[in-house]
């Protein structure tokens, strides 16, 4: 992975010196729209080269880049900003806190396709997963999930219903598996601002991360 990143950045540097002006122009456009530019430094050395920032939050369909503005119906579709007005906000994803928005009764999505009176089968059971890292342990709350989902959405295809019977970690989640089947696509995404929603059980005050063997055995230390 590391190697790949390096070769791509190397390629960028080389492309810029090569007489491939089309590619260069493309890069410049990207740099302008997504990053803060340092005065007139060449595009390859943009200040925060790899930083992706959302510039147009909750964009209307006609300007979101995936809908065709030439299609009349595109302009009939509801802009997210209008739909979300009055919802509890968050700092990521749809910029909506769906859990609180539901809890506070600002929406009442149906549990049944036809019958609006049918109620969700909610189960309040927390599962704690100890994390081998300095970050707080993970609490998986069944309550917020069963407000939206049926048991069969997760059990047994995504998770065997038995504590610690499933192996998962951050890499698998970031790749869209396990918790990442939903988190990162529809439910709140994984970003610096959302770590704490899953990692919510603080470690004991005297907790220290285990030392790496390589360093403990280092004869020069």
């Amino acid at each position: 992975m590391n190697f790949k990143t390096k070769s791509i950045s190397l390629a960028f540097a080389l492309v810029a010196v090569a007489p491939l002006s089309a590619v260069q122009a493309e890069d410049a456009v990207i740099a302008q729209s997504d990053t803060i530019n340092v005065a007139s430094v060449s595009a390859v050395n943009t200040f925060n080269r790899n930083l992706k920032k959302e510039t147009n939050i909750n964009a209307a369909p006609s300007e979101d880049g995936i809908h065709d503005p030439a299609n009349d119906s595109t302009h009939v579709l509801q802009p997210p900003k209008e739909a979300f007005s009055g919802f509890v906000t968050s700092k990521f994803g749809n910029y909506v806190d769906w859990v609180k928005t539901l809890e506070e009764g600002k929406i009442n999505p149906r549990w049944d396709r036809i019958n609006p009176a049918e109620e969700a089968f909610v189960m309040d059971m927390d599962i704690v997963r100890e994390v081998k890292s300095s970050v707080p342990d993970v609490i998986f709350p069944h309550r917020q999930h069963t407000e939206w989902l049926a048991c069969a959405n997760c059990h047994p295809t995504i998770f065997i219903p038995q504590q610690n019977a499933n192996q998962f970690n951050m890499s698998s989640i970031l790749l869209g598996k396990d918790c990442g089947v939903c988190h990162g696509k529809v439910s709140f995404p994984v970003t610096t601002k959302s770590c704490g929603l899953c990692h919510s059980k603080p470690k004991p005050a005297d907790w220290e991360p285990p030392m790496s063997q390589a360093s403990l055995k280092n004869p020069w230390k």
Partner: protein, 142 residues
């Protein structure tokens, strides 16, 4: 100008550069699409229709996930349900609701077929796409 051996080296990497540029281009487009929008384009382009766009955020205001993903049998996979118009008018998938009973009916073609032509089947604004290194490639081909 550029020395010959260097130029060879450059040519070798130029295509990687273009690819990386394209990935960034896609990435910069995704930045604006609402989180949870799915473009479904297994067949639309080939049939001369705009790709279908499914807005999760819009539907989850009206239905819990369970309705579609348990009762109606939508798999958790963009493009994975092989939705066709034959199935829709038969009352499956989108057709379970877009039938003039629960929601507006199927003759409003361009309400669903509203995507930019040529957009691949994709999940928009996903964490995987936001990673600096495009780790999602391997998942897409899965």
């Amino acid at each position: 100008m550029i020395l010959n051996p260097l130029r060879k080296f450059i040519n070798k990497f130029a295509c990687v550069g273009i690819l990386a540029g394209l990935v960034l281009m896609l990435g910069s487009q995704n930045v604006h699409a609402e989180y949870g929008d799915v473009v479904i384009n297994n067949y639309s382009d080939a049939a001369g229709m705009r790709p279908a766009v499914f807005p999760h955020w819009f539907h989850r205001i009206r239905f819990r996930c369970k309705v579609c993903h348990a009762d109606l049998g939508f798999e958790f996979k963009a493009g994975g349900n092989k939705i066709t118009m034959a199935k829709i008018i038969d009352g499956q998938f989108c057709g379970a609701c877009h039938n003039g009973e629960v929601a507006w009916s199927v003759e409003n073609c361009n309400m669903c077929h509203s995507g930019n032509p040529g957009t691949p089947t994709h999940f928009h604004g996903s964490t995987v796409q936001r990673l600096v290194a495009p780790a999602y490639k391997s998942l897409e081909s899965k």
